[in-house]
Symmetry: D3
Subunit: 181 residues, 6 copies
Amino acid sequence: MRGFYIGRFQPYHNGHHRMVEEIAAEVDELVLGIGSAGDSHSPRNPFTAGERIMMVTKAVKDFDVTTYAVPIEDLDRNSVWVSHVQSMSPAFEVAYSNNPLVIQLFKEAGVEVRQSPMFNREVLEGTEVRQRMIEDRDWESLVPDAVVDVVYEIGGIERIQRVTASDGAEHVTTDDNSSPC
Amino acid sequence: MRGFYIGRFQPYHNGHHRMVEEIAAEVDELVLGIGSAGDSHSPRNPFTAGERIMMVTKAVKDFDVTTYAVPIEDLDRNSVWVSHVQSMSPAFEVAYSNNPLVIQLFKEAGVEVRQSPMFNREVLEGTEVRQRMIEDRDWESLVPDAVVDVVYEIGGIERIQRVTASDGAEHVTTDDNSSPC
Amino acid sequence: MRGFYIGRFQPYHNGHHRMVEEIAAEVDELVLGIGSAGDSHSPRNPFTAGERIMMVTKAVKDFDVTTYAVPIEDLDRNSVWVSHVQSMSPAFEVAYSNNPLVIQLFKEAGVEVRQSPMFNREVLEGTEVRQRMIEDRDWESLVPDAVVDVVYEIGGIERIQRVTASDGAEHVTTDDNSSPC
Amino acid sequence: MRGFYIGRFQPYHNGHHRMVEEIAAEVDELVLGIGSAGDSHSPRNPFTAGERIMMVTKAVKDFDVTTYAVPIEDLDRNSVWVSHVQSMSPAFEVAYSNNPLVIQLFKEAGVEVRQSPMFNREVLEGTEVRQRMIEDRDWESLVPDAVVDVVYEIGGIERIQRVTASDGAEHVTTDDNSSPC
Amino acid sequence: MRGFYIGRFQPYHNGHHRMVEEIAAEVDELVLGIGSAGDSHSPRNPFTAGERIMMVTKAVKDFDVTTYAVPIEDLDRNSVWVSHVQSMSPAFEVAYSNNPLVIQLFKEAGVEVRQSPMFNREVLEGTEVRQRMIEDRDWESLVPDAVVDVVYEIGGIERIQRVTASDGAEHVTTDDNSSPC
Amino acid sequence: MRGFYIGRFQPYHNGHHRMVEEIAAEVDELVLGIGSAGDSHSPRNPFTAGERIMMVTKAVKDFDVTTYAVPIEDLDRNSVWVSHVQSMSPAFEVAYSNNPLVIQLFKEAGVEVRQSPMFNREVLEGTEVRQRMIEDRDWESLVPDAVVDVVYEIGGIERIQRVTASDGAEHVTTDDNSSPC
């Protein structure tokens, strides 16, 4: 039995890791969908898909299931989103999510969804990790060791601090929908 | 003479219906443009283009003009929007709208625009209908009977309630521009 | 029971018309998907989606089923094509097609497909009608009367002759993938 | 040595002009990137790329450097933005910007970036110019004469006032991501 | 009076140059649309939009009219192509073209088109110039001096020879629609 | 040292496998880019990205390097292709390819490229494997065992035979650029 679990993994942190551990006990193989794969270099989405694939792959290496880290680019159409995911991912029987929209879309497509109270907590942790990176406070204790290595290898702290830096910049970015001019 | 009237029709309600009735008296044929055709499964745009085509077609059946229900997908470029509409729609001589941007775009393209005080009211009704659907209050009295049938056939109430359900979900959706991860 | 039948309808001709008549006898409502909706002004796809909606709607008016003419824009991804169609169309239980790719895609999505020997013939007729339009030979006898009216109203003969006119033009178009420069 | 300076130029005003003058003293040739080239007809982006090319080209005519006015359409992917700019622009050695995101992206791509305190001021002036246009107050003194001519030639004041006009319209536009329905 | 003349300018050669000279005598200002602006690094479209802007701008410098070199990215929809061009270009009254599709599209949009026997010849010259570049034969005599400088500055000969090099490569490119994998 | 090797892997076969083995001896980690990730259900591209991820991941499991299987969707712009690949992939120092266009693009971006005579052979094998699948001849001996399992699990033989089946279907597909109507 193959399971599917999607997150933005900006970055992959201990909340995700505990969740993956929990799911790994229920499935034979696990697909980790890396959402908003095309986004990067913004305060909320600092890391590229490639960097997140590296984080996820290295962090889950020791779990005893075959895992796939699959980037999923955003579409602007909810109605075809499930098909998009299914074409990018190895076939799966169960999707894990607490996001009501994700749940609704999978249910309308006839895919079984499992929920867990842990999901909400894990959403909050992502914001916390990024905030600590921006403010140069301890974020390393909130993520697996493998993620610390990747973030330093790519100069991730400098990047998130810079793209968060100025009022002017943020407005420009926001107004123009994520493009820098 | 053919007229064009665009709305999101989320859902098609009595405000739209009175407007169509009014326009039907002035034209030989009427094109109903279903705006933001690619959007669905969100609190503000719960229904797919196909579902809205069904609502509109069934609701206007008894009017004594030939009508066309034409889905219009959003473009991100105002400057080509009129051409886009014109290529998707049977040719029309008059556009009906109170939206200043729509009016400006049609005028720059040399298309006659007619306005009506009723349009504003109809915008408000859309929000009201969706709010009542979410809160399980009487929405049926605000829409034509044919629309009630369609909404129940597709499980529309359950859908809008689910995609509106949780804080977490809404943030994820909002931040990622309508895509669910 | 609702059926779905897709074609490019460039233009809608007697082959399509007989097919629609045949299908109409099996279904309560019929969705006519207008494929490659974004294409127009080329030798193979001379007419816009709006023009084809007009042809189809007027031609099927006398059949005794509710019909929907729904433009379907091309996607470049076969794997999400069925979801795309389903979101743009009123829900349907049966799809009518002889195209092996369409059949395969609908079957993988669990949609029933019905085939008919007539489909092949109808594909050939489209090419024949356009060729006669280009060469100013009798094409009117191959299409319903309503289609003749629409083609003349929009200056369709002049258009297809012009866009087919010159060697130079064709190369430019072909090389640049349907864009005119 | 060729320099690159990007702005939305909605419209090109005296703040931009002083900046261009300053840069012109440092480079042999200057590329002026016209950002968000696809946006127009909105309160924040009233003018088309073509109109802005005209403003910029006429306004910088008297400077003693070869200048190129190059429209840059928005992409939704920061990670490929620099390549996109580089393919649309004559090759440049230095980019001028105070936007932290732009700076970060160019630095990661190995392009030298120069900053100046003047940039912030110039961002503020754009908002001020548009606000004055909307309120029919003196905006002409804030832009080069050539820009005044272009704005009047294209009916720019009427346009920005109309697209800013009504509450209803603004909401519709905002909700639907810049498309008018 | 402003004129518009579109070409791919791969590269800008003497045939284009004579045409521009001819048009320059009829207009006050001239817009040179650089078609298929997004294409580059292929045997038929070796140069980027930025490189072609440089060629054109330098080559027409001595003509006595204001010129604008405007990149025009391909759209896949003929029906909105004229609006796309008009939004990217300073407003123009006359378009110069011998391409029947371009002529038809501009005419349907109410734009005056002027033709000339020279256009056909100029299309042939583009192929000839690229063929000579590939075969290391004299191509310099077929283009303005400014273009020779640009081609050498960017390593253009090496590039076109490489992307034309192997059978394997060409198939891959062709089959995958211009993307290199 | 991390290496990058791109292929369409339709399907992953022994030619790819020997190449990966060869590269694995030179690098610490290996990224396998799955090209044309959005294409599937066609005679030349029968398998989805998710199915190919499964083939590749299972087949390379026993090699003694960390491997990443990364889907790369086609872009229509060669000039931003390298940035696109780099954002989707873990950072790499060397790219392996014999495709002259790929080589040229990586070289212009300053990425080291290594070639090998084996690449050409491997291209030919892909065509051979698909042809045998279509004709129900022995293809299993040309691919790793893990790939045989995946192809049977997903009903791959039936799919490729069906989408290759008919003349009518192929023409429709070809003319409409990979979309099935």
